[in-house]
Subunit: 191 residues, 2 copies
């Protein structure tokens, strides 16, 4: 139940057994089914979610009704709307289940408890968010001024798993191109 979380912590920091037990006890396991919402636009994001197993994605819907995928999360990744979680403002994002999943969730109070009590926990989060920032910046770099073809070919290099676990129209939205364009790019690739 906590294998992935344990692995993730120990990839970045060392925790004593007591510290690990304390961490564990502040998380709440939560099972969810495909197509359920972990967070809906307008609600406040009350929990950080760690994905033990499964797949989720977050997206916004713009004024014209178009969906924009912000990110995906798979086994061993974190998912939340940090903006809403830390400010308490209503979320403009939705988070939806892409597969039946096992999550470990953590509310703000418990998160702050762990930050206070376990320095290594704060270090872990600093490193995790640092890495997420670097990845996101890479994504901005790719999104800005690459052609649809280049975006696609970088994606399959950098995140091939996406193509197997995610419907193509969501990948298209993630890349910022239309589903039709992505389809044509793929067709031209396989020739």
């Amino acid at each position: 139940m906590f294998e992935q979380l344990y692995k993730s912590f120990h990839q970045h920091v060392s925790l004593t057994n007591e510290e690990w037990e304390l961490c564990k006890n502040n998380f709440r396991p939560k099972r969810m089914l495909k197509r359920q919402f972990l967070l809906q636009e307008g609600d406040v994001c009350r929990e950080l979610a760690f994905v033990e197993k499964g797949a989720l994605y977050s997206y916004s819907v713009d004024s014209k009704g178009n969906q924009h995928v912000i990110r995906f999360a798979f086994d061993g990744w974190w998912m939340a709307n940090l903006q809403s979680f830390f400010t308490g403002d209503p979320s403009r994002l939705n988070i939806e289940l892409l597969e039946d999943s096992e999550l470990l969730v953590l509310d703000l109070k418990n998160h702050e408890t762990l930050l206070e009590k376990i320095p290594a926990y704060e270090r872990y989060h600093r490193i995790i968010i640092q890495n997420a920032y670097v990845a996101l910046q890479q994504r901005v770099e790719n999104a800005l001024g690459l052609t649809a073809e280049e975006k696609y070919s970088r994606l399959i290099k950098q995140s091939p798993e996406f193509m197997n676990r995610v419907p193509l129209h969501l990948v298209a939205s993630y890349l910022g191109v239309s589903p039709e364009t992505l389809s044509r790019v793929r067709a031209s690739f396989s020739r």
Copy 2:
């Protein structure tokens, strides 16, 4: 010399006087002139820079020779290529001075020293990077699927300072549109 840095720390955490002195002593003041490079593509980013006063920007140059502005930094902001700084890999980004500036720089060793010795310093960095992540995600959301006009009008709402301190062709690059398009958008706005 250290006013902005002091302010920035104390906006997010509390430091004792000794802690503040220790922090301060690990930074090195560095003056630089407009058009100088803080970091050049191919070099490793050896220092985090805090901007006491001035303006910088980071950018990449793609295979077609097009420049893509990643971000700007003004008084009280941080600037570095985190990817290169933490991995030691050569940078694909350049960081260039937009104005004569006063920087406070910090190498990896000193940064790690401070992380070890001062928990509040680690907390400060966690919060700073968390905020940067939220802002960057907002930018992705804007870049993906907004028209040039919408991008521009959001920018002047969210970061009006950019328009005063940054040449328009760099703003255009930051938004991912051509200078000509930005110019036309602005013309249509002022009518």
